[in-house]
């Protein structure tokens, strides 16, 4: 019997606000524990939450970017449970009426066909603190820096069918939320977290099989891998005629396996009820329309515009819009230097290679658009060769110095002086009679070797086009 895989994802995303959801503590990462705290986010007796409107705005933007219906009146509920990382004995969340619901996101399925993934809800909630085991191992410690950080939880309907679907959904979600300016969505840093629900059912069946919940995946790749692993595991169980136990599993990156984290999935009773310390969130239809109008241009629209306005090939446009940072960088370059294709080549080639090897994001790169523009202009003006430019880029990338300054300091200016080059060319011709002979016998490729020799003599500084011309003139036929 063949089985159909049914996957749903619950994604938590940290909102990029200045302060926490219900107090004025800063919303930023600090390594020292319990620094970003106050009586409110520590849940001291008598304190009351005060809603950060900026978070509501970002949650509204996220909901709109995911094509959700917006609740003009929503509210916060208390989700009651006991755990040391929640300071109040309850988490403030939106249980009964989320700000966004019934949205969608379109991905490509394994065969590249478009596929709509329904989004059940987008709701706001506060993050919990972090439990840390003490170095001596005999106690648990709690860090409440993260307690009260604003999150949105984005829950899909069980519409994903393959681990690839899940990965592509996450990639797309990340791009959308980054473009919308809602979150950094860095899974490695925890600003995007994902739990997966997965079950198998006989193909053609309408009822859902018993599901397991997967946790602790720290990358999109890990989500895909863990789902692949879990499909194999569940299929083997079902094939052997046994039943899958509904439980929570934990992905172990080292062993690439899932292990049981919590037994039987119980329906937790969180005894949710409206938090009467907070007024309901009221939005007007005008506010929603304003937010919709203010939505930043999303990746697909931007790629289309790049093709249309800058005459870029589809491939370039797609690559450049794969993150908002890259697309913004590209367009900033154009403000200083208006040759889109050239800029695109250098971003996708040299710069991307540098970023990859250094493991940093374009946003934190010290080789800015001004650097790029200056570098490319120097090539155009025949001041440096493309090859020298690559070295300059590398130096500027790490030092942040402007390319022109590097060229000047290191004496890398291109030799375009004919008389200076002629002497070197004479020397190369004398030293390489074989190649000259080959060329004269019609092996035109030999000219390349000779040009290379001249470049070598000048440590790459010679203007290769000029060298070529001069060489041909010297040894060529009349």
């Amino acid at each position: 019997m063949d089985y159909e895989v049914v996957i749903g994802l619950e994604v938590h995303v940290e909102l990029k606000t200045e302060s926490k959801l219900f107090c004025s503590c800063p919303n930023c990462f600090v390594p020292e524990p319990n620094v970003n705290t106050c009586p409110v986010c520590l849940g001291f007796p008598g304190t009351l939450p005060r809603l950060n409107r900026e978070a509501v705005k970002l949650a509204l933007t996220a909901s709109l970017a995911l094509n959700c219906r917006i609740a003009l009146r929503s509210w916060f509920d208390r989700k009651n449970y006991f755990y040391p990382d929640i300071p109040k004995g309850y988490q403030i969340s939106q249980f009964y009426e989320p700000i966004g619901s019934r949205g969608s996101l379109t991905i490509e399925d394994d065969l590249g066909r478009p596929k709509v993934i329904r989004i059940g809800r987008v709701h706001m909630e506060e993050d919990a603190g972090k439990l840390i085991h003490s170095p001596t191992g005999d106690a648990s410690l709690v860090d409440y820096n993260r307690a009260g950080v604003p999150l949105v939880e984005i829950v899909t309907e069980p519409d994903l069918r393959t681990p690839g679907d899940a990965r592509r959904y996450l990639e797309k979600l990340k791009i959308i939320l980054q473009y919308a300016g809602v979150s950094d969505c860095k899974m490695e840093e925890g600003s995007l977290r994902c739990d997966a629900n997965i079950s198998l059912r006989p193909s053609g069946s309408e009822t859902l099989g018993s599901k397991t919940e997967l946790k602790n995946m720290n990358s999109f790749k890990a989500v895909e891998k863990s789902l692949e692993h879990e499909i194999k595991r569940q299929r083997a169980i079902l094939k052997s005629g046994k039943e899958v136990i509904s439980q929570t599993l934990r992905w172990e990156e080292e062993s690439q396996k899932t292990i049981v984290m919590r037994g039987k999935l119980q329906a937790h009773d969180y005894r949710c009820f409206a938090d009467c310390d907070l007024a309901p969130i009221e939005l007007t239809a005008e506010e929603v329309e304003e937010a919709r109008a203010a939505l930043p241009e999303m990746a697909e629209a931007r790629a289309e515009r790049f093709v249309h306005d800058y005459k870029l090939p589809d491939y370039d446009a797609l690559m450049l819009t794969s993150s908002r940072g890259l697309a913004d960088y590209f367009e900033s370059c154009l403000e200083f230097y208006n040759n889109p294709k050239n800029v695109s080549n250098w971003i996708m080639g040299e710069l991307s290679a540098r970023l990859n090897s250094a493991g940093i994001e374009i946003e934190s790169c010290s080789f800015g658009p001004e650097h790029m523009a200056e570098l490319l202009r120097m090539i155009d003006e025949n001041l440096i060769s493309g090859k020298i430019a690559k070295d300059v880029l590398e130096k500027a990338f790490y030092s942040g110095k402007m390319p022109r300054r590097i060229v000047e300091e290191d004496g890398l200016l291109q030799i375009s002086d004919q008389s200076e080059l002629e002497g070197i060319i004479e020397k190369v011709i004398k030293e390489n009679p074989d190649s000259v002979g080959n060329y004269r016998r019609g092996k035109t490729k030999a000219i390349g070797f000779l040009v290379g020799q001249v470049m070598k003599e000048t440590r790459g500084k010679a203007n290769p086009k000029l060298v070529n011309e001069l060489l041909v003139k010297k040894i060529g036929f009349k």
């Binding site: 007796p45 008598g46 009351l48 009651n80 004995g89 709690v142 329906a267 009820f273």
Partner: protein, 494 residues
Amino acid sequence: MELYQKTAAELSRLLQDKEITAVEVFNSFTERIDEVDPHLKVFITCTLDSALETAAAVDRRRMENEELHPLAGVPVAIKDNFCTEGIKTTCASKMLESYIPPYDAAVVEKLKRIGMPILGKTNMDEFAMGSSTENSAFFVTRNPWDLERVPGGSSGGSAAAVAAGMVPLALGSDTGGSIRQPAALCGITGLRPTYGRVSRYGLIAFASSLDQIGPLALNALDCSLLLEVIAGYDQRDSTSLPHEVPQYSAAAGRELEGVRIGLIEENISANFDPEIKFAVLKMAALLEENGARITEVSLPHTDYGLSAYYLIAPSEAASNLGRYDGVRYGYSADGDNIISLFSRTRGQGFGAEVKRRIMIGTYSLSAGYYDAYYLQAMKVRTLIRRDYEKAFQNFDILVGATTPTPAFKLGEKADDPLKMYLSDVCNITDALAGVPSLSIPAGLHSSGLPMGMQLTAAPLNEGLLFQAAAVLEKCSDSPPQQRTALNLTGRGEL
């Protein structure tokens, strides 16, 4: 007449006229505290040193002809569920027995800012859950009118302190009658303001949608003066109201001509003490003599009020008290693991009534019961609100008894929670509706105990209540006796 026998308004006048000093006032009240507190047991914590400093500073500033608030130098006591920076705040619970808050409640900030010396933190029912102050984890407080009887609750300490002349003014909190019921049983005046009128920031929560802070004093004028200090918008409390604070004290002295008064049938019920019923009718007649028009009115959903309240308040309480887990502050029991830390801390730290309400609340919010209990109670709450809205289309003030009986004996209802809950029966619907409600003395019962009448107005109409109360105070032929009646001898040895 001793200074401690004077009202806050009288003290304020004498202080402003420089006939007395704040330190003299302080001395008079603290001597009185020394004299009677061993018998009444009002204070959990006395803060006399800092109060004396405040009084001395007020005198200094007055000497320098600085402009001071009229209540500067007038002492006050506060219930022990208001957070006070650096001063123990216990909620009369073992759970917070040695808890020292890192900040002042909004109302405490206000008292400090105008220079009111805070004499101490008063006893109460644990986490404000109770109607007799017998649920304090530390000791019981006695009624100054009869030391064998309860002062009411949960703000019993604050009420007894004012009634016995230990302070001219006190703050309490009222979730379902916790200011008005003890005010009535102690023969003083107490106001539950409109929900949202006073910031709850720093009031340790019992039931967030019902908790409200209010003044207790000897008369309506004093209550209005203190309300002027504590009322007002606070951005730290999202439920606080933005409306400007009127000069409430100006209301006392206005005529009652044309004021429409509804006599609430349900709050002069046949099974109430007949003397209390009679006292309320007599007071109503006085209002009529002064130009008010009196008609009977029914609030038809009152019968369901108590049941709704005892689902809603415990539900919120179960959630509000979830934070006391022994991890961050307060009592912490030894536990081998996190579950035993939680259960032992809460098992040992909370008293019986608190646990009872946590269990009721947890049950009422649980899956499968939520619709039948919590949600149903919330629907009743809406109906009760509508009762009031409808009544206020035809009436300006609603009146009735504050309590069905005068103060009961210590221990009389301690073993029967339902009986105890019934002592708040007249106070609960106002709280559910969020409307302001004032209890004023209504003369003495044949047993010698005070009785109370309750006046309720539409939201934000506290001024009207003070106005009616002041008229009654002026023309009542049996003016409410005050704490001078306190007789420590012949009331049984302690």
